[in-house]
Assembly symmetry: C2
Homo-oligomer: 389 residues x 2
Amino acid sequence: MSETPSRRIDRIQPFRVMALLAEARELEQQGRDIVHMEIGEPDFPTPPPVVEAATRAIADGKVHYTPAVGLSALREAIAGFYQDRYGVSVPAQRIVVTPGASGALLLALGVLLEPGQGVMLADPGYPCNRNFAHFLDARVQPVPVQADTGYQLSLALVQQHWQADTRVVMLASPANPTGTLIPSAELEAIIDWVERQGGTVIVDEIYHGLIYGESPPTALGCSERVIVINSFSKYFGMTGWRIGWLVAPGELIPGIDKLAQNLFLSASTPAQHAALAAFEPQTLDILEQRREAFEQRRDFLLPALREIGFDIKVEPQGAFYLYADCRRFTDDSFAFAQALLQEIGVAITPGNDFGDNQPQRHVRFAYTTSLARLQEGVRRLQQRLAPDG
Amino acid sequence: MSETPSRRIDRIQPFRVMALLAEARELEQQGRDIVHMEIGEPDFPTPPPVVEAATRAIADGKVHYTPAVGLSALREAIAGFYQDRYGVSVPAQRIVVTPGASGALLLALGVLLEPGQGVMLADPGYPCNRNFAHFLDARVQPVPVQADTGYQLSLALVQQHWQADTRVVMLASPANPTGTLIPSAELEAIIDWVERQGGTVIVDEIYHGLIYGESPPTALGCSERVIVINSFSKYFGMTGWRIGWLVAPGELIPGIDKLAQNLFLSASTPAQHAALAAFEPQTLDILEQRREAFEQRRDFLLPALREIGFDIKVEPQGAFYLYADCRRFTDDSFAFAQALLQEIGVAITPGNDFGDNQPQRHVRFAYTTSLARLQEGVRRLQQRLAPDG
Ligand SMILES: Cc1ncc(COP(=O)(O)O)c(C=O)c1O
Ligand SMILES: Cc1ncc(COP(=O)(O)O)c(C=O)c1O
């Protein structure tokens, strides 16, 4: 009995990409050159002003626990960011600093869900979301989404799949693995309808800073009852620091505070002090240049992959992912990804990690490596998959 | 409905000491001088070699995600620590790096517990433990412990309170809030008996580096099925960095890895690189000096409080806490703590935070401030509580 893990563990699938990543590392140790298009984090280092702020804080001995909800100064700075960037006024008291968006998702779902209640989410989608729900003994209600809705939940889909026990609807805009946005009017309509059913919408805006084209408003403008998840990981280039935040209705903050006190004690103190520099004009300039670099990469990779024969049905407007139908080449995306890795040293993520909606027919490309490396990757793919193209 | 938190939140009590801490900060802002004896973290800064390692890692751009179970080098270093300090050989594969002992406790309980299963723990005890269990919809089985067992579970108590659904027994040695140890023979007997019932023992050794007197062996020497929790927070002076670890039976590691991948992605990367320097001889020298300083503080504070009239029934051999019966002064320890704060500017933690076993009659003193400040605190307590003593 002792060595049998709890059933909640059985319901959680390990990420298939981890096996590929390990294989890739092994090949590299053997001297092979691998083009990494599987990795879900920016290749850019943490911006220098943020690094400097961290170094200063550490030297000053700012290394003790903070309040569980985060440093007041950081909550204020995040409130200022919503004001400056989105023109939305969010009181700092509704903002909770967390160990990454990961910590924010655990707190948000933890405060909302009774065991057995339903969590509606798009399939394909960010894999951890359904696993947080499994962890909390909630019921995952995946909705297969297609290109016609930009791989997003729509009001019609939400209404169609709503069940008596549905408590939470999870959205992400831009989304992982598709990079697609939810149109603002649709977002508003979903939030409005779900809240009228007595449910809560969680919107993951972790990729909101990485949008190519017109910037949509934050979901916080739609309602004071929506929960918004965000993070310093992706746009701000701070993955390994483990720092993010959530914005929740005021009534939920005491419960979230209690949970954070117990589960985390607090988020990393050096990371919090570092993040204070993330909103400085100098940092935002650097981030804007990086956003442009990502856009350039997308503008190269998207047509190049289409030309090879990958069917990318929706032009993604954000994040750093391309979600491609690969049925022209395979009906087993995992074997396909493994073959590409072994044969031509190109690492990509098989669809299996994102759900059960035709995963064998899909792969995800991440443009989290330089344009030159992406070009090399495309060259290899071209040669292997479309030699006469 | 939307703003009603889940029932699991209702079962979690907020820490009473937080209200006192906020009051203390307010008094300080009004210019009052407060002696802090309520704080559960070392006043010492992070040791310089650890700070240097962090600064170097950050400058080198070591700020990306690591494997969910932690950097191999750190897992190896922790294995080396067990070998050097305890003469126990623990394969690095059984070690998982976590966001503090907090993260380790969530993973350990998460991998073991089905909803409804029982978790036996000592009352008084570390408050988060029962709240982790509540969070996982497990049943908390608190066992009132008294001075006769050093405020620890004994084999007799475990046997007496064992129930058909008991899955986990949680121990801590030294314990919070009492600073007491479990005798090695007793520890071994408990582990042996619980494992024969098919249960698992979790031993929290977060204060194991802070023992005054002979160093007992780690619980890892007793069994390969025990789970040991530890952290860089207390002994290593790294609270705000959020970095700790657990050691688990090999069979549980894949499940723990899956959970960590989903709940945390990884522990803080700068903190992991910093922690690599925690086991260097130079760091250990500093930590040994600090351990001696804590011992000196205990040796001052313990008799001084007894003289004032606090009944400290067991001489604590570790951590930085004294757990005192205060019935000579009050039968409402929370009101008592508030009065001491307001009237003489001495902050302590009321028993309420540690359980339901006569909490009104107990308070916890933390010697996490300098000897000079402790002396000032004792002077004020003496004047207020034993003016003729
Ligand atoms: C959609 C989405 N949400 C949340 C996260 C978690 O990121 P973090 O915990 O680093 O903030 C990720 C990471 O890949 C993600 O893709
Ligand atoms: C007994 C015990 N275990 C675990 C923890 C958690 O510490 P951390 O998460 O900082 O490692 C604490 C903190 O006070 C503690 O007292």
